[in-house]
């Protein structure tokens, strides 16, 4: 069974914290240009689409991926299979 990350854009409120912690997890900085999770927003700051890049390792060493543990809108989900 494989796991992958999915985002419910209807619930996402646009704080972009997931992008920040993802960059920290991967590179120990907060450069979101290289985050594995990328959400694009319109001029209302409403999320319109997202991308999970190959670098996403679901934070294997952690019980919960960092993006999920910081997300307060509970819009991030792990998909199984």
């Amino acid at each position: 069974m494989t796991l992958s990350m999915a985002i419910d854009l209807e619930k996402c409120t646009g704080c972009r914290i997931c992008e920040l912690v993802c960059a920290y997890h991967l590179y120990k900085n907060f450069d979101t240009r290289f985050s594995a999770i990328q959400i694009n927003f319109d001029l209302f700051r409403i999320p319109i689409h997202y991308q999970i890049k190959n670098q996403c390792d679901l934070c294997q060493e952690l019980a919960i991926p960092m993006c999920m543990s910081f997300c307060v809108s509970e819009c991030l989900h792990l998909l199984r299979g």
């Binding site: 209807e10 409120t13 646009g14 704080c15 972009r16 914290i17 920040l20 912690v21 960059a23 920290y24 120990k28 900085n29 907060f30 450069d31 979101t32 240009r33 694009n40 927003f41 319109d42 001029l43 209302f44 700051r45 409403i46 319109i48 910081f70 307060v72 809108s73």
Partner: protein, 629 residues
């Protein structure tokens, strides 16, 4: 050079000369950033002879070292200029994403002076700045500007701020709208931009903000998020948005502003009609600012009278007063529609509310006839005229032209004894609840931006942060200390570039000065303890006070609320019989001035106050004008 916290540059843009100059941030770090940085720039560079609406005036868009980091609610943009309403200091603050984008584009601040020949907008793109032709934008609403940029740039993650038609028409109650729904109001900043023919600034930036100690920083952020989410008030705001603070609380037992302060009690059934829960059917999603776990904002949808579907973000708690109780309107859809309208036209709802309330009262008292009101019936509670009046203000048409510069200026133009119905402090609109906490009222009255609760106004139950272990009392001395402490604290918060909502001002589980010192250290690598940081807050407060003294000549008499509040007692409800008392207000001011080291009879700063804060150039400038004691 590599920076942590700051990104290194201030851009000076002269619209008259179409010249852009870049200055390093380094020499200004003692003022931290955001409001502190901007206050210093304005004080140093703007002569007293400059009018707010002039080419000389400078408008500063600034961020702080925590802006754009993962500190909670680190999205704040400060906008500072000379105040079009008071002639003193103007400062407004907005969230969204703009401030973050500006830093990611490589700028801590942009300072704009001069006047463009034709309408322009500024495009900040990954370290480059262009002044672009804005003819096609002139005349557009806030939403229209967003639509234009979406077509023009066809890329995601842009952010913009702009003025609406009201700013173009130089309405002194016009604001600047950030990210289409976050308003930077107070001080007529929309008119200041409009005078400069600067319609908008649009930013695209992706570079990160450097963090000196990422591991320690993240650990502090984690703890602060967890603590914050357990807070009682934070839970309520997450559940209801900012509307939870409307009308003094969901149960309506707080103090209200009714019929232009004729009363501070509103009948219970009217309040219940505007309960936050009744707005929920119009909410289509929750929104938040960058790196903010509080999620106080909402996107609303409603159908207007023409049958068009409208989406807007800007409804805030103060709108329930500004577009409701202050003119006795309890119609929910009117408030919703009017809120969207002021936002889209670029008007400050507080300024609009005060102007409307003054006009309604003049109508009631026979000082304004129906003919003079363009045939509109301005009777208390007549919700049908609200939209039309707002449109008239933004376009400066008919009665709207009179109301567009705020209630004080309108009353001066009209005369007829209408001055006593202009509810203002220092010329800035007053629409604050007055009871029960005098610390709140005092903080509003002595605010450096003229009025408003976002400086030293504070609930008395925040006393624990002033003096732990001391019993709470409501003596003038205690309230004076409390307000002065929170003025310093808020100056610090605004200079760091984070939101007041995420601090102990809102919730005891929020960030306090010790946490802010830790965040500042781990982000910038500079170690300053909380007392040192609060001292910087005190310096910011004092440079703004000095600016007000030099530019507007404010003294003790300007720190008094309007006469009406000393005459009208509350008619009913939990605060029945409450009234301000001149003797007590004098005691309150004296106590506050003692803490601030201001001269009691005049309200001016004393030399020793500025000596202690090592503000010698400020002291000398005040002394050269004989404006220091």
């Amino acid at each position: 050079m590599y920076y942590n916290g700051w990104v290194g540059k201030i851009a000076w843009i002269d619209l008259s000369k179409e010249k852009i100059t870049i200055e390093p941030i380094d020499q200004y770090k003692d003022w931290i950033g955001g409001r502190g940085l901007a206050s210093y720039l304005l004080f140093e560079h703007l002569p007293e002879s400059a009018e707010a609406l002039s080419a000389e005036n400078i408008i500063v868009f600034s961020t702080g070292p925590l802006t754009g980091t993962m500190s909670s609610s680190s999205a704040r943009l400060n906008i500072t200029s000379k105040n079009a309403l008071t002639s003193g200091y103007a400062s407004a603050n907005a969230g969204g994403f703009f401030a973050v984008a500006l830093k990611r584009a490589g700028f801590d601040a942009i300072a704009v002076k001069g006047v463009a020949n034709n309408p322009v907008y500024i495009f900040v793109n990954e370290g480059e700045i262009q002044i672009r032709n804005g003819n096609e934008l002139w005349g557009l609403t806030v939403k229209g500007v967003g639509d234009y940029f979406e077509k023009e740039f066809s890329k995601n993650n842009l952010s913009y701020l702009c003025i609406g038609p009201a700013g173009e028409k130089l309405c002194k109650i016009a604001n600047v709208v950030v990210d289409s729904g976050r308003s930077a109001s107070y001080g007529g900043l929309g008119a200041t931009m409009g005078f400069k023919k600067l319609k908008a600034i649009v930013v695209s930036g992706k570079a990160p903000v450097g963090i000196a100690h990422p591991d320690d920083f993240l650990s502090i952020v984690r703890k602060s998020f967890d603590k914050l989410m357990g807070g009682h008030w934070i839970k309520l705001i997450r559940r209801h948005g900012t509307l939870i603070t409307m009308l003094g609380g969901i149960d309506g037992k707080g103090s209200q502003v009714v019929r232009n302060y004729q009363d501070c009690y509103w009948e219970g059934q009217k309040i219940l009609k505007l309960n936050p829960i009744n707005f929920e059917p119009y909410i289509i999603r929750r929104l938040t600012c960058f790196s903010c776990p509080i999620e106080c904002s909402r996107l609303y949808r409603f159908i207007d009278r023409e049958g068009n579907t409208n989406f807007f973000e800007g409804l805030q708690a103060n709108h329930i007063t500004d577009l409701g109780s202050i003119i006795d309107v309890d119609d929910l859809e009117t408030i919703l529609r009017a809120s969207a309208l002021v936002n889209n036209l670029g008007l400050d709802a507080d300024g609009v509310g005060c102007s409307l309330a003054w006009a309604f009262e003049c109508f009631e008292k026979g000082l304004l006839s129906k003919d003079e009101c363009d045939g509109l019936d301005l009777s208390w509670g007549n919700y049908k005229v609200v939209d039309g009046l707002i449109l008239r203000i933004a376009q400066r048409v008919g009665i709207g032209d009179l109301l567009a510069d705020g209630a004080l200026e309108a009353s001066r133009k009209l005369g007829r004894g209408s001055e006593k119905y202009a509810m203002h402090i220092k010329g800035s609109p007053l629409r604050e609840t007055i009871y029960p906490d005098m610390a709140w009222t005092l903080g509003v009255a002595v605010s450096t931006r003229g009025s408003g609760h976002l400086n030293g106004a504070v609930r008395l139950n925040r006393l624990q942060y002033l003096n732990q272990g001391e019993s709470m009392d409501s003596s003038p001395e205690t309230m004076g200390r409390l307000v002065a402490w929170f003025e310093n604290f808020k100056s610090l918060v605004d200079s760091l570039g984070i939101c007041y909502f995420t601090t102990i001002w809102t919730d005891s589980e929020g960030l306090g000065p010790i946490e802010l010192a830790e965040l500042f250290r781990t982000v910038t690598g500079i170690k300053k303890d909380s007392e040192e940081l609060l001292k910087i807050g005190a310096r910011v407060q004092n440079i703004e006070k000095a600016f007000n003294t030099l530019h507007a000549g404010f003294t003790r008499m300007d720190d008094f609320p309007p006469e009406r509040l000393f005459v009208n007692a509350v008619s009913n409800g939990p605060h029945k019989g409450s009234i301000l008392n001149k003797t007590n207000w004098d005691k309150l001011l004296n106590a506050y001035y003692e803490v601030r080291q201001y001269d009691l009879p005049s309200g001016l700063q004393k030399k020793e106050c500025l000596d202690e804060l090592e503000m010698l150039s400020v002291k000398d400038r005040l002394a050269s004008k004989g404006m220091i004691k």
